[in-house]
């Protein structure tokens, strides 16, 4: 029995250290990935896995990944394992990988350690993040110039959602200080029914714009906007097919494209960031915010002009869309 257990443990350790999926190009450019959960699930871990696959095909890289299932004891070993094999880039997909990367990085100066949803910049450890408050700022301008009140429905008050809503509020306030806004957090990312009722209650309280930010549950908000015939936005994914007339703008963040771009800079040897990396509207390959041409009523010309002007100012750094430091 003991032997069997030991063998099993050995296999588990081998799997955890990434021996199972060895890279195929020993001498070429190689990228390793640490994910905190299963890549077969649609969502956070899948985003990183898809990005890794794109790096493999587009940059002709050797790639490998390891699923660590939120087991911090293994983080450092996993980083060290990739770096000691001479991997050029290792991405830790989540801020929880920060500490382990910082511990390992000084020993491997030739490896670039990237950390998702982190604001760190320390030698060869670089944090990556997407700043959703920027497109939300533009949504705020649109809503405040065309309506009287907006209802914001969030999943949970986590930093990315809090920042996005702050961006919306600042954008709305920049064009109309009297524009009314209320927030509801449903406390779930799956309860589509609660999201819908939250949105309907905001409409009953006078909202003529609904802003979802609750992953899958956000679809309930779009459904409510369709039934109440008020304006709304498609956030993170393109849901225009659900409510063609009511969705005024679509915001999509292609994080994978950002990873590919940075990996290619590392490959060329031109990656030398002065600070941590925040993808924003400036990164037109990563962050898209577009108005929906099928929206009814169509977005007015002066509103389009105001959005374009604000977009330019945000890209130039003249408008701050959130108070939290980058």
């Amino acid at each position: 029995m003991f032997r069997f257990t030991a063998a099993l443990a050995g296999m588990a350790i081998a799997a955890a250290l990434g021996f199972v999926s060895a890279a195929n190009a020993e001498d070429g450019f190689r990228m390793g990935l640490l994910v905190p959960g299963s890549v077969s699930e649609e969502g956070w871990n899948r985003i990183a896995y898809d990005a890794l696959k794109r790096v493999e095909t587009e940059l002709d890289a050797g790639v490998s990944y390891v699923e660590l299932h939120d087991n911090p004891a293994t983080f450092e070993t996993a980083f060290r394992n990739y770096a000691s094999q001479g991997y050029d880039v290792v991405l830790g997909h989540g801020f929880q990988f920060e500490d382990a990367a910082l511990t390992v990085a000084p020993d491997y100066p030739d490896t670039t350690f990237l950390i998702s949803s982190s604001h760190i910049h320390d030698g060869n450890v670089v944090g990556l993040d997407t700043d959703s408050s920027q497109p939300f700022y533009l949504m705020g301008i649109l809503a405040a110039m065309t309506g009287d009140a907006a209802g914001l429905v969030g999943g949970m008050e986590i930093p990315p959602i809090h920042d996005a809503f702050e961006g919306f509020r600042l954008g709305a306030a920049s064009v109309s200080p009297d524009f009314r806004m209320s927030e509801i957090y449903i406390g779930s990312f799956t309860d589509i029914s609660a999201a819908k009722e939250a949105a309907l209650s905001l409409v009953a309280q006078g909202a003529d714009f609904l802003v979802p930010n609750a992953n899958a549950a956000g679809l309930g908000v779009i459904q409510a906007a369709k039934e109440s015939n008020v304006g709304t936005f498609s956030v993170y994914s393109d849901h225009r097919a659900v409510a063609r007339k009511n969705i005024l703008g679509v915001y999509v963040a292609d994080y994978g494209q950002g990873i590919v771009r940075i990996a290619s800079e590392v490959k060329k040897g031109s990656f030398a960031p002065a600070s941590n990396i925040v993808f924003g509207l400036r990164d037109t390959d990563v962050m898209h915010f577009e108005l929906n041409p099928e929206a009814e009523p169509a977005v007015a010309e002066n509103v389009r002009a105001a959005i374009d002007a604000a977009r330019t100012q945000i890209i130039a750094g003249d408008i701050r869309t959130r108070s939290r430091d980058n």
Binding site: E157, S201, L219, Q223
Partner: protein, 309 residues
């Protein structure tokens, strides 16, 4: 935003309460059936999820809401049959089997959804609201309360039906006897196992219907874990209602009201109360209820006990 005590807003909140209570009412009615027969089915969450998925899948394929509802009921019953085999025939611990059913429902529906549907958000046409003549024309409350879809209205006749079956038919009398004193049922030559199978399957059908309401009568699509704990709240509803179907209807409405009110209050920043307090309201209520109703008075005597006949 507007004044909280605006009459139209109160009516809108009541309408929302009824819609939010609908899946709880169905699930709780089903659980009353099962528990009255002495079966503690904590697997309703998994059965609801299954019903939500099979209902969505059938409606997506056929474009028909009634067909979808039927599929939701059958999906719930299929999982119910698994529960019945293990608890009644195999006589396994009901709590353990129920917990397993919940995990099964969660994993199976997530797996099937990802395999067969790309999450584009494209949904189905849901049941349309029906305005009840005269009542829907009442000032203020009419439009908010009496423009619901048929599934929401169905909570009232179905509650009545469950009460009639449980308390005014021979079948109901025997079923309740199975939960109180199964020996006496066996002595008169009736099969305790058959009645428990029946009670579990009826309960699972209701749970499946409650789940299907979420995808076909409220939001228009399936989302992983769309039930988000409603099956567990339904369990608390049954205890609070002291195993009465009519009681379950009103208690579920109360829970729906709490939920609707908390959503409404969150949007009132001038109250100066942290929204987390409101968010916790339905769950705090559940705990208070379970503490207050801690005695087993009114509970079927054989609840959770396998019958060795």
């Amino acid at each position: 935003m507007d004044d909280i005590l605006n009459l139209g807003l109160v009516a809108a909140t009541l309408g929302a309460s009824w819609r939010l209570a609908t899946p709880l009412i169905f699930a709780a009615l089903g659980e009353v059936f099962a528990e009255r027969a002495g079966v503690l089915n904590i697997g309703i969450e998994g059965m609801m999820l299954t019903g939500a998925f099979t209902g969505f899948a059938a409606a997506f394929a056929s474009g028909s809401v009634p067909l979808g509802l039927l599929a939701g009921i059958l999906g719930g019953m299929a999982i119910g049959l698994v529960f019945a085999v293990f608890t009644v025939t195999v006589k396994a611990n009901q709590i353990v089997v129920g917990a397993a059913i919940n995990l099964l429902g969660m994993g199976l529906t997530a797996f099937l959804f990802r395999t067969f549907y790309v999450s584009t958000g494209l949904g189905v046409e849901i049941a349309q609201p029906i305005a009840i003549p005269f009542l829907s024309d009442l000032p203020v409350i009419g439009a908010a309360l009496f423009r619901q879809n048929a599934i929401v209205y169905a909570t009232i006749p179905l509650t009545f039906l469950v009460w009639v079956v449980l308390f005014r038919t021979s079948f109901g009398l025997t079923l309740r006897a199975v939960g109180e004193h199964p020996k006496s049922v066996a002595v008169v030559g009736r099969s305790v196992a058959a009645y428990r199978y029946g009670a579990i399957l009826i309960g699972a059908a209701f749970a499946g219907l409650g789940g299907a309401f979420l995808t076909l009568g409220h939001s228009n699509q399936f989302v992983e874990n769309i039930t988000s704990g409603r099956g567990f709240i339904a369990l608390a509803v049954v205890v609070f209602a002291r195993w009465s179907p009519v009681g379950a209807f009103f208690v579920a409405l109360l829970f729906g009201l709490f939920y609707a009110v908390q959503l409404q209050l969150q949007a009132q920043p001038q109250l100066g109360v942290p929204y987390q307090l409101f968010q916790a309201l339905p769950y705090v209520m559940t705990i208070i209820v379970l503490v207050l109703v801690r005695s087993r008075r009114g509970a079927p005597k054989m609840l959770g006990v396998a019958y060795d006949g």
